[in-house]
């Protein structure tokens, strides 16, 4: 057994860094605090790579399968004998993979931020929050039990809240952060209910016990049926609700586009590469339960994923804010991952979807972070988020241009870049299980290529825009991460995921299915071609098209009015029709009752106080007649 106890430092180090920067940050020099944060990340990145190496290449396999290793575990809070929250480190293929993803992207984002955030007020606060986020996200992926996951799930939520609202004097950022937190919080309620149901049925939180395909936890609880579905299915659907929220799937996707109010590196790290895939990770983590005890819930996962990916892709085609386009693209790609999980089986080639999903997660983290960071560099150069303000930037920003192009090609699924492999495997998995979803995914692949190249052409080609000040290439702290990530997204397709990250830990054979791959590449090229025609030069085709499909364009442009729907629900229903009546009820009915009691007492006392007139003779009269009446009563009547 290899010693992996040091892995506890991987999440702890950023936490210490957070405390240091959070408590003493304002006393440090800006540069120093930035370097401290980045340095901490560098250390844990190295640690993660060492861990990955150790885990994948030196740890012993049993029966050809990677084992789940609990490298560290302490009981944090004891509920009952069986139920307790532990904090620990669980290493298995997906958590190690996530370690690589998170530390790499986070490290790149840290370096990038050194340049991007230079001179911003609250520089040290920014790095403190980034460290907090890294800590939470690492704690989430390394969780040994579902409750630890929930804890860090909340913590990533709050660090996302803090980072979205980083520019706290900007009202839009404030409301976006609020929205993000509350929407995900609502989803987390589902997660919590799911955990409660699960704990009631299986009496354990522990992942290893829960996900053991032959264990008792899966066998228990699947028997009880409620409203046509087993309780296990219900609990898994509730757990997935948490995933929907965090991964911004329909119908909880509305927070993600708004979250782009945060600094761009944050969007790259949290809202593209790491936190938003937590939902996918959650399903992958609980996968055995889904496939064995709650197949219906898994179907739900697949359909939610598929629908969201199509829905978001359509919206992405109409947006003009490049960060929003990327945000919808993220939703779409996460939909892909969920779909892949949803159609997957367990073990061997059946588990192709699982593997593909993780593969895509990995690749997506790289290229989407790259896209966001590229977008950040562009925004940094032109001080605008809108495509309409850009054009012809390829001359000014050569490095950004090249890396952005690589990323676009990757996401469009052009071989031999990584997106091609992962997408191809997802499509293959879908083909084997559900033709409808497969068809949807083809359409989404085309749309993806289209909208990505739409923004690519609009930004770097298109019309020659006049700028107030000539845009210039970003400093090396920003371009180096771009180049590293570009290499990563180009080459990560070569990683043999089918041997490393599989549903049951065992390697299996998978190869490119040409029947799936060739049409998908063609569709991607078709999308690029259309985008080329429409946006390579300044043309009027987009306007014409928009005019032709006026209503559908308008709906898509307004994101199918989901925001308005939510506003209606929150402002009109919750605020106007629940809270205000409650407050009114409380003040006027409940409190009114209390006041009424007081009022009645008071008015009665006002009435009867007239008896205390201060007139001595009246008192005497009453006293005297009373005495006489009593005398009569006792002498004559009380016989």
């Amino acid at each position: 057994m290899i010693n992996l106890g040091y892995t506890i430092w991987i999440p702890l180090l950023p936490f210490l860094m957070f405390l240091l920067l959070g408590l003493a940050g304002h006393k440090l020099k800006h540069k120093l605090s930035g370097l401290l944060g980045t340095g901490g990340l560098a250390i844990i990145t190295v640690l993660s790579y060492i861990t990955a190496y150790k885990y994948f290449f030196t740890s012993e396999k049993i029966d050809g399968a990677y084992q789940k290793i609990t490298a560290f575990n302490i009981t944090w809070l004891q509920f009952t004998d069986k139920l307790h929250i532990d904090l620990g480190v669980l290493l298995d293929p997906i958590s190690v993979m996530m370690l690589i993803v998170i530390t790499t992207v986070s490290f790149m984002v840290h370096i990038y931020s050194l340049g991007y955030m230079k001179g911003e007020k609250g520089f040290e606060r920014y790095f403190a929050f980034l460290s907090l986020f890294s800590f939470s996200m690492l704690g989430l992926v390394l969780a040994t039990n579902i409750f630890q996951m929930y804890i860090f799930w909340e913590l990533v939520g709050v660090s996302s809240y803090l980072l979205i609202g980083f520019y706290y004097q900007k009202p839009s950022a404030v409301s976006a952060s609020k929205k993000a937190f509350i929407v995900t919080r609502f989803a987390d309620l589902g997660f919590l209910i799911g955990i409660l149901l699960l704990s009631f049925n299986t009496k354990t939180f522990d992942f290893i016990t829960l996900t053991d395909p032959t264990g008792t936890a899966i066998a228990q609880g699947s028997g009880i049926v409620f409203m046509g579905l087993s309780v296990m299915t219900w609990s898994m659907i509730f757990v997935f609700m948490g995933g929907i929220g965090k991964s911004a799937m329909f119908p909880f996707h509305i927070w993600l586009p708004d979250a782009m109010e945060g600094p761009t590196p944050v969007s790259a790290l949290i809202h593209a590469a790491t936190m938003v895939v937590a939902g996918v990770y959650l399903i992958a983590r609980m996968f055995p339960i889904y496939t064995f005890s709650a197949p219906v819930a898994l179907e739900v996962v697949a359909y939610v994923g598929a629908f969201s990916s199509l829905f978001a892709a359509i919206i992405a085609c109409t947006q003009t804010d490049i960060k929003r386009v990327l945000a919808y693209s993220t939703i779409s790609q996460i939909g892909y991952m969920l779909l892949a999980l949803g159609v997957s089986g367990y073990g061997g080639y059946e588990g192709l979807g699982y593997m593909a999903s993780m593969f895509h997660l990995f690749a997506h983290a790289m290229f989407k972070a790259l896209l966001f960071l590229g977008a950040g560099a562009i925004i940094h150069a032109v001080h605008s988020n809108y495509m309409t303000d850009m054009g012809g930037l390829r001359k000014y920003l050569p490095v950004t241009h090249m890396t952005f192009l690589i990323a676009c090609l990757t996401i469009a699924g052009i071989p031999p870049l990584s997106g091609f492999f992962s997408k191809d495997e997802i499509l293959a998995a879908a083909l084997h299980s559900n033709k409808l979803l497969f068809a949807v995914e083809y359409a989404v692949a085309g749309l993806t290529a289209f909208y990505m190249f739409r923004i690519y052409f609009s930004i770097f080609w298109g019309k020659e825009t006049q700028y107030h000040e000539t845009p210039h290439e970003a400093p090396p702290t920003m371009t180096i991460p771009l180049i590293v990530l570009a290499i990563g997204s180009a080459l990560s397709g070569l990683i043999p995921f089918n041997e490393l990250v599989t549903s049951d830990g065992k390697a299996f054979e998978s190869e490119i299915e040409l029947l799936v791959a060739i049409p998908s590449v063609l569709i991607g090229l078709l999308g690029i071609g259309i985008a080329y025609v429409m946006y390579r030069k300044e043309t009027t085709i987009p306007e014409k098209l928009a005019a032709t499909f006026k209503y559908s364009y308008k709906w898509a442009y307004n994101k199918f009015y989901m925001d308005e729907l939510y506003l209606f629900v929150t402002k009109k229903i919750i605020f106007k029709h629940i809270s205000e009546p409650v407050a009114w009820f409380d003040r006027h009915i409940v409190d009114g009752t209390m006041n009424a009691i007081a009022y009645v007492t008071q008015s009665v006392s006002f009435r009867i106080r007239g008896l205390q007139s201060g007139q001595l003779q009246k008192y005497a009269y009453v006293f005297f007649t009373g005495a006489i009446l009593l005398a009569i009563l006792f002498i004559y009547l009380w016989k």
Binding site: S613, G614, Q617
Partner: protein, 105 residues
């Protein structure tokens, strides 16, 4: 001395005197006249005490002593009451009982 006079005579007399005092107490407005009514009431009680003592328990002196103490208390009471009345008069320039109603509500 009291031969031929039944005890009831004394008691009836005391009762009449008592209720006359009560009537005065209830109708008079002047505090001093109210005080006088009180004296009437006290006197009627004294008569009762003495009558009971004389007719029913002639071998004891309790009734007499009670009367004696009542007279003493009446004297004290009159002194205090009159000093209060004078004080009231000083403050309110009236000793009409209906105007002295500060102690209400």
């Amino acid at each position: 001395m009291n031969a031929g006079i039944p005890i009831q005579y004394f008691l009836i007399l005391a009762a009449i005197m008592f209720f006359t005092g009560i009537y005065g107490f209830l109708t008079r407005r002047n505090l001093i006249t109210i005080l006088m009514s009180v004296e009437l009431i006290l006197n009627s009680v004294n008569i009762n005490f003495l009558a009971f003592n004389r007719y029913l328990y002639p071998h004891k002196l309790d009734g007499m002593f009670f009367s004696l103490f009542i007279i003493a208390v009446a004297a004290a009471e009159a002194a205090v009451a009159i000093s209060i009345i004078i004080n009231i008069y000083r403050r309110f320039t009236t000793i009409n009982v209906e105007d002295v109603d500060e102690m209400k509500y």
